[in-house]
């Protein structure tokens, strides 16, 4: 891919990728570094990008991978609290408890294995349904269902530990 093509893709999709990285990593500087990683990979695997039906979804999968790698390198991040509101969130009050689950899960994303991380991101950030997640990952609905149930259990347990049961 040429520099011009990478630059054009960045101007068009860069902000979405940065926003996603920031929501996963919950750290602006780390998100900017991950953003650059994503576009370096775009330069390297430009042909796959050109052939992708959805450029956004292709970039998101790459961004997820870059962020998961950074999370793995970062290790424990107990210092990050639920009160971290550096990431602007659109309030969808109808989602109720799901929003709280999302916050807890995303805070402690690094504690899960990569498959669970992927399901968490697709469900809590992309707001995909079980069917959509199954289609996006190629896993069975049963697998997706189990991982989502596991995430909800973990989110509830984490909330109990952090807030003493208050929600």
């Amino acid at each position: 891919m040429t520099d011009a093509e990478v630059g054009e893709a960045y101007r068009r999709y860069g902000s979405l990728v940065l926003r996603r990285c920031q929501r996963i990593l919950r750290d602006r500087a780390a998100a900017e570094d991950a953003l650059q990683d994503v576009f370096v990979r775009l330069w390297r695997y430009g042909n796959a990008f050109r052939e992708a039906d959805s450029k956004v979804l292709w970039l998101y999968r790459v961004a997820d991978r870059c962020c998961f790698d950074r999370l793995a390198r970062r290790g424990a991040r107990a210092e990050i609290s639920l009160a971290d509101q550096s990431v602007p969130l659109v309030d969808k009050s109808s989602y109720g408890k799901s929003v709280e689950d999302r916050e807890v899960v995303m805070c402690f994303l690094d504690r899960f294995d990569d498959r669970v991380k992927q399901v968490a991101v697709l469900h809590y950030l992309d707001e995909m349904t079980q069917e959509e997640i199954a289609a996006a990952t190629g896993w069975s609905r049963q697998t997706v269902f189990k991982k989502l149930a596991f995430l909800r259990d973990r989110a509830q347990a984490l909330r109990m530990r952090l807030c003493g049961g208050a929600s």
Binding site: S15, W43, K55, P88, V90
Partner: protein, 233 residues
Amino acid sequence: MTIHPASVTLERLAVGDLPDPASADISKHVDACPQCQRFLTELTEAASSCLRSVPPQRVLNAVSDARRRHARVLRWTQLSVVSAVAALVVFLVSPWPTASVRFKGIGLAVHRKRGNEVRVMESASGIRAGDALRMVVTLPKPTSVAVWSIDAHGRVDRLAPARGISLDAGEHALPESAVVESPCVDLWLVLMTGTRAEEQLTDATRNAAEKQIAPGDEWAPPGALVKSFRCEN
């Protein structure tokens, strides 16, 4: 309860990544939904903010750095591959090592035992009566071997092995030792190989006797290996 499009759907809508039919449906919802409109406005603002905080040139610089690193790795990889192929070619075309050592030519080493002392003798070394001489031959290929001694009186004796012996390539100590008689005289050891050695030496000694050539190197037939030893007595 209003069902909003998923975040990812709105994000794709914002950058024109949705296929046309879906785009029309979602746009219709957004037109009637202040919450989704606010979401799209936030995305637009985030886009401007992103380009300010991380300008495209910074990303392109990262790509350039990666390209340089990639080229360097590629260069080293190519060099490694070329080296590996060259090593493989050398390995394949090199002669397969044989189990034994290859010798350049026929060799004869004479070990002298005098009392308790054993030493390898140079040609023209001194001998005395009672010295035991042990012969070690080196052969580049399998052949039959015979050794004779010619003394200063013109006496020709066949030394160990008493009869010709066939040996493989390599180094061999011939069986038994030859003992220098008393009185000691100068001596020449002649090593011959091949099946015609006996015949050749007989012809050579007869020729020397007929021409009255004094015993010595000239008695040896062509191709023979000769070591001469001087009597010290």
